[in-house]
C-alpha cells in the first residue's frame, strides 16, 4: 500500500511539472503580457524598462525557469491587476468558494443517493418517474441558466433571498466564514443550491443505475432467499456495492463542482476563487491565471489519489492485487 502511494506521488510530481510547463507556455506565449501592466501611451523608454523589470525580454524557457525557481519558495508572483502576491490573493478568496462547494457536495450526496436508490429499487413507481425527470433537468440544464432561474424566482419574484453577494461573515482564525451568520446563510443558499443541482442529478442517476443493476443479480436473490428484509438488502448489500463507483464519481465531481463554481460565482457575484479566474481571464492577469490553473491541477491530482486509495479500501478484491 505504501509503495503504491509513493509511486503515485512520484507520478503526481511529474504530472505537475508537465502541467506547469504547458500552462505557463500557453498563458504567456499568447498575446503580449506587457499590455496589461502599462497603458499604451507611455514612452518607449518606460515600456522597455518595465519589460526588463518583469523579464519579458528573456526567451520563454528562461522565463519559465525563473518562474519555477520562484515557485520553489512559494512565490507565485504578483497579480498584474491587484498588485498583490497571487498566493495570498487566491487564499483570501478560497474560503468563500469552499463554503458553497462543500455545502453543494454534501447536500447533493445526502439527498441524491437515497433518492436514486429508491428510483432504482422501484423504477416503475410514480415517484421514481418524477425523480428521473427532475434529474434529467438538473443534469442537462446548464448551471448558469439554473442560477438565472433561481435569482428570477427567489430574488426578483418572491423577494425572499438576496440576488448576490456574500453577506455577513464571521472571522475564525483570521478567515472569513459566512455560514455562521443567518444573513450569510441566506446569501449562501442560492449559490450552493445552484452548484448542487448538477451533482444531485448525477448522484441520483448513478445510484439509480447501480441499484437497478444490482437488484437483478444473484446476490440480491440469495439474500431474499435467506429471508433478509428489503431494508437490509438495500442498506447492507446494495449501498455497499454501489459505494464503489459512487465514491469515484464523487471525488471527480468534487473537482468539477469547484470548476463550475466559476459560473455560479459570476452570476451571484460571490467573491470566490471562481470569480477571480473569470476576472483575471478577461483582464489577462497572467500570474493569477497560471497560479489558479496549477492549483486546480494540484487539487485534481490530490483528489484522484484520494479516490484511488478509497477505491482500494472499499473493494476488498482490489487489495489482494495491489499488495502483490
Amino acid at each position: 500500500m505504501l509503495a503504491f502511494i509513493l509511486q503515485r506521488l512520484m507520478q503526481a510530481f511529474v504530472v505537475m511539472m508537465v502541467i506547469s510547463a504547458l500552462v505557463f507556455t500557453g498563458v504567456y506565449a499568447v498575446g503580449n503580457p506587457i499590455d496589461v501592466l502599462i497603458s499604451p501611451d507611455v514612452t518607449q523608454q518606460i515600456r522597455e524598462q518595465t519589460i526588463k523589470a518583469y523579464g519579458f525580454d528573456q526567451p520563454l524557457w528562461r522565463q519559465y525557469l525563473t518562474f519555477l525557481q520562484r515557485l520553489a519558495v512559494g512565490d507565485f508572483g504578483r497579480s498584474f491587476v491587484y498588485n498583490m502576491p497571487v498566493l495570498s490573493l487566491i487564499l483570501s478568496r478560497l474560503p468563500a468558494t469552499l463554503e458553497i462547494t462543500l455545502a453543494a457536495v454534501l447536500g447533493a450526496t445526502l439527498i441524491g443517493i437515497p433518492l436514486g436508490m429508491y428510483a432504482g429499487y422501484a423504477p416503475d413507481s410514480f415517484l421514481s418517474k418524477v425523480i428521473m425527470v427532475v434529474s434529467v433537468l438538473g443534469f442537462s440544464v446548464p448551471t448558469f441558466w439554473i442560477g438565472l432561474l433561481l435569482i428570477f424566482t427567489f430574488a426578483v419574484n418572491l423577494g425572499v433571498l438576496p440576488a448576490g453577494g456574500r453577506g455577513e461573515t464571521v472571522s475564525i482564525w483570521g478567515v472569513e466564514w459566512s455560514f455562521l451568520t443567518l444573513n450569510g446563510l441566506t446569501h449562501m443558499f442560492l449559490p450552493s443550491l445552484n452548484l448542487a443541482l448538477f451533482k444531485l442529478s448525477l448522484m441520483i442517476r448513478l445510484s439509480r443505475a447501480g441499484t437497478r443493476e444490482i437488484m437483478l443479480t444473484d446476490t440480491v436473490r440469495f439474500a431474499r432467499a435467506a429471508g433478509e428484509s428489503e431494508a437490509t438488502i438495500l442498506g447492507r448489500h446494495i449501498l455497499r456495492l454501489i459505494a464503489i463507483p459512487l465514491v469515484t464519481v464523487f471525488g471527480l465531481e468534487f473537482g468539477s463542482t469547484l470548476a463550475f463554481a466559476v459560473v455560479t460565482e459570476t452570476i451571484f457575484s460571490w467573491p470566490g476563487v471562481g470569480k477571480l479566474i473569470i476576472d483575471s481571464i478577461s483582464t489577462l492577469d497572467r500570474p493569477v491565471m497560471v497560479a489558479y490553473l496549477m492549483l486546480v491541477a494540484l487539487l485534481f491530482i490530490v483528489i484522484n489519489l484520494t479516490v484511488d486509495i478509497a477505491y482500494v479500501a472499499l473493494d476488498p478484491r482490489l487489495r489482494a492485487r495491489k499488495t502483490t
Binding site: F222, A226, E228, R240
Partner: protein, 337 residues
C-alpha cells in the same frame, strides 16, 4: 431438526404450477402445469436440460420470480399452508427459516464486498435477534458442519479469498443456518471442479440425513443427481414428463426422453463408438407445440402425439407419454451393466 408432519401430509405439495414470462417476444411458459410432492426428510432430484423449467420451478416455490415473470396458476403448499399469494412479510418469514435455497454460482451469490461473517450474521438476523456471541457460535457451527477446515479464519475472509468449493460450502452453510425444513439446490455443483463436486455430494447426503431436512436437487446432470436422490423428476419444456424412484426410473424409463438422457450419459457410452445424442433441440418456450413437446425429436412419435399427453400414474411412477417405453425397455435394462 424438522418435525415430521403429524397429519401424514407431504411437506411440500405443488399442484399445477404455471409460471409464465411475458416479454416483447411473446409469453414464455417456463413452467407449464407441474405437480409433485416432497415428503419430510426426502431427497428428490429435479432433472432436465437448460430451458426445461427446473430452476424456475425452484424459484417459484420460494416466490422469487421477478417481472416479467409471474406465477400465473397453481398452488404450492408447505405443511398445508398455501404459499402463492402469501403476503410479502409472511413469505419473507418463511424464506431461509422453513425453505432455503442454494444457487449455482457462489461467486455471484455471495456479496463480494462483505465478509463471510457479516453475510452469515445478516442471514441469522433476518429471523430473530441473536446476540453477537450467539451469531458467532452458530456461524462457526454451520461452517464446521459443511466441512470447512479452520472455520474461524474462513469466517473473517472475503468470498474472493476462498476457493470455489469453499464458497459453495459457505452458501450451503448459510442455507442451513436457520434449520430449514426444505432446502432447494439449483445446480450447486455445476460450477465446481469434478473432484469437489463429488465431495460436496457426499457431504450433502450426510448433512441432509443428520438434519432430517428435505432436499430438492436441481440439475441437468443425471449422473450426480442419481447418487443423491431417492426419487427422480424429469422435466422437459416446462412440463413434468416422468417421475419415480431413482433406481426405477434409471432401469425402466417410461418416457423416450428419459431414455435418451440415460443413453447419452458418458458412462453409458461404449468405448470407441460415438456418444449417443438426442437429435434436434428443445422447442422454444415462446412457441410450444400444441401436442407433446418432445414429439419432434421422438423416435416413438405417432399421430396421437399431436395431442398433449395426460399424466399416467402407476403407484409411485408417473409419466406423460402416449407411447411409453414398455416391456422392450425392461428387457434392455436386464442386459445392461
Amino acid at each position: 431438526m424438522s418435525a415430521p408432519t403429524g397429519n401424514g401430509l407431504p411437506l411440500l405439495q405443488v399442484r399445477d404450477l404455471a409460471t409464465h414470462f411475458t416479454t416483447r417476444a411473446g409469453v414464455g411458459k417456463a413452467v407449464d402445469g407441474v405437480s409433485f410432492d416432497v415428503h419430510a426428510g426426502e431427497i428428490i432430484g429435479l432433472v432436465g436440460e437448460s430451458g426445461s423449467g427446473k430452476s424456475v420451478t425452484g424459484y417459484s416455490i420460494l416466490g422469487l420470480i421477478d417481472p416479467p415473470g409471474r406465477i400465473d396458476a397453481g398452488s404450492v403448499r408447505l405443511d398445508g399452508q398455501e404459499l402463492i399469494g402469501l403476503s410479502r412479510s409472511k413469505l419473507r418469514a418463511l424464506r431461509g427459516k422453513r425453505i432455503a435455497m442454494v444457487f449455482q454460482d457462489p461467486m455471484s451469490t455471495l456479496n463480494p464486498v462483505l465478509k463471510v461473517s457479516r453475510q452469515m450474521a445478516l442471514a441469522l438476523q433476518a429471523h430473530g435477534s441473536p446476540s453477537p456471541d450467539e451469531i458467532r457460535r452458530r456461524s462457526l457451527e454451520a461452517l464446521a458442519k459443511v466441512g470447512i477446515p479452520d472455520p474461524e479464519r474462513r469466517l473473517a475472509s472475503y468470498p474472493h479469498e476462498l476457493s470455489g468449493g469453499m464458497r459453495q460450502r459457505v452458501a450451503i452453510a448459510i442455507a442451513f443456518l436457520n434449520n430449514p425444513d426444505l432446502v432447494i439446490c439449483d445446480e450447486p455443483t455445476t460450477a465446481l471442479d469434478v473432484s469437489i463436486q463429488a465431495q460436496i455430494l457426499v457431504e450433502m447426503k450426510t448433512l441432509v440425513r443428520e438434519a432430517g431436512v428435505s432436499l430438492i436437487w436441481i440439475s441437468h446432470d443425471l449422473a450426480t443427481v442419481s447418487v443423491l436422490a431417492k426419487r427422480l423428476l424429469v422435466m422437459y419444456a416446462g412440463r413434468l414428463i416422468e417421475e419415480g424412484l431413482t433406481a426405477d426410473v434409471l432401469r425402466r424409463p417410461r418416457h423416450p426422453y428419459t431414455q435418451g438422457l440415460i443413453d447419452s450419459l458418458p458412462s453409458r457410452a461404449e468405448p470407441g463408438r460415438d456418444l449417443v445424442q438426442i437429435p434436434g433441440s428443445a422447442p422454444s418456450l415462446f412457441a410450444l407445440p400444441a401436442g407433446c413437446a418432445f414429439q419432434a425429436r421422438c423416435t416413438h412419435a405417432t399421430a396421437i402425439c399431436d395431442t398433449a399427453p395426460d399424466q399416467t400414474r402407476d403407484g409411485t411412477r408417473t409419466w406423460r407419454c402416449h407411447n411409453p417405453l414398455g416391456p422392450l425397455a425392461d428387457r434392455r435394462a436386464g442386459t445392461t451393466a
